[in-house]
Amino acid sequence: MSAIREGARQAMAWLHGWTGLLLGHVLFIMCLAGTLSVFKPEIGRWMRPEATAIAEPVDAIAAAVGWLEKNASGAGGWYLSAPDERMNTVEAVYAQGADYLERALDPVTGAPVARETLGGEFFYRLHFELELPYPWGRLLASLAALFMLVAISTGIIAHRRIFRDFFTFRPRKGQRSWLDGHNALGVLSLPFHIMITFTGLLTLASLSLPWPIVANYGQDAVTMYREFAPGVVDRPAAGKKAALAPVTPMLREAERYFGGGRIGRVNIANPGDAAAVVTVLRSDADQIPYAATQISFDGATGRTLARWNEKRSALLTYDVLYGLHIVRFAPLVTRWLYFFGGSMLTLAIATGMVLWIVKRRERAPLSLANRALERLNVGVLVGVPIGLAAFFCANRLLPLGGMERADVEISMALWTAFGGLLAGLILPPALAWPALLGVLAMTCLIAPWLGGGAPWLAAAVARGDFLFVTIDATLTFCGAALALLAYDLARRRSRSATPIGTRRGRAAL
């Protein structure tokens, strides 16, 4: 019996290793970007330091609609996110020609803010689209999440002493330390890892498991969406121009319907047309379920067309699971705990990738494939974070206006990450690890001070806004920790490179 159990355990360990390895780098990028997305609105504010105006959500949406009526009247739809205590601007998405534009609008004037950037939205999109075209990025993310769920399940079975080793970490013991670290990062936060992976998989379920929808609705997506969200009215443009009725009364009516709940998103379909529809969704910050309450108005008259408070248990369950993943409901402490859990998952993946190599190197010289993987590990595990840190630097260094600034920021981040990846592949790993970690540390340390960071920090503190302090401190802390790690690795490398006769303190390693 125990032989069978041991055999099963070994099979699970094999599956755990391979599922983790095959899409491990993709998972690392997804988890890192997802962890940063927890603070998506806050990152957006940090990246638009000049935008300091504050307005009530209803007034801000009314100002945004006023600006859009003058400047984006031909668009098929305007999709607006109301400001709240985490984000002071209105996030707007609207069509212009064949493209969809994403702009942060000033809550008082309604005009786009000077520093055009995607802000935290970049990390959010990277998390599940991986900068790949639709639907390939989402499909890859979905597949990676599925692999992750398999890796977690098999990891639980493969771990021989899951409770006995709960608090065990033995530093500076080579492979043993990597295994302890990987286990601790995986086990201590196991409920979070399972929850975030399962709910993440569910958010993309319509892509990865489309068959139930196809079986019930075939190609009739309109009926499906109508049944899923009865509060949203979907009707074609009438082709007859009509001015949009004042939105403020509609938003006040929505607030009354939400029972004191705040407005979250406002979608305006066919603006400027007689068949315009204004749909108002309750703020996700007010409850765990995502977008469970909504009300629609006739755009031309302001008359209520439909209202919906989701009570169907299956859909409410889905909304709760979705809400648990995107964590918009969470107060500050919970958001930090999500950030902490996400960091642990990211590090668990990274340590697992390194452990694969360390384990094999201690047994025998590395095969060609494993040597390539070792270099790829450095390139992805350090190169990609360098790219993400460069995104913050690009935000501060690029001049305001005059070009597709938001796109240039992203290009700079991606090219920097590519450079990091290339350096990891070219340089010998013993040199690449400390060198690239040093670059990452430096990038994190300088980001808060670039492009006039100090005056913004002082101005924010003066008006009692501690967001800049928190993000600058977090970047500085990460930079300092990474610098220490890079220094330690460089010191160890120089010791191991010293001729045997002159080595000192080797026993301490």
Binding site: F166, T168, L188, L324
Partner: protein, 106 residues
């Protein structure tokens, strides 16, 4: 939530005390031998008790999410202390007991 976090930490601390290889490191061999008999039961009791404030919170669902998020943070603190300096874990246990005392006032 302060009392819940304090009870949870003390529960995890008791759990570490009950483990053969960690108990002695945390409180010394002699004390560990005596404590280890009761530590596992005490650990589960404290962890269960830490769920009490969660149940009676204004929004139990949010409190439960917070509680789940606190487990890796507090267990991680004990793990780090056991790996580098056990005084951190003992000091945190004293702070947790103190927090339990002042939580009703807050």
């Amino acid at each position: 939530m302060i009392s819940s976090a304090a009870l949870l930490y003390l529960g995890l601390f008791a759990s570490a005390l009950g483990m053969h290889k960690h108990g002695a490191a945390l409180v010394g061999k002699t004390s560990a031998a005596i404590i280890q008999r009761y530590a596992p039961a005490l650990s589960w009791l404290l962890i269960l008790l830490s769920l009490g404030p969660v149940t009676f919170a204004d929004r139990p669902s949010l409190s439960l999410i917070l509680w789940v998020g606190l487990v890796p943070l507090l267990a991680g603190l004990i793990l780090v202390a056991l790996a580098w300096d056990t005084r951190i874990a003992r000091l945190a246990a004293i702070i947790a007991i103190g927090a339990l005392g002042i939580a009703p006032i807050l």
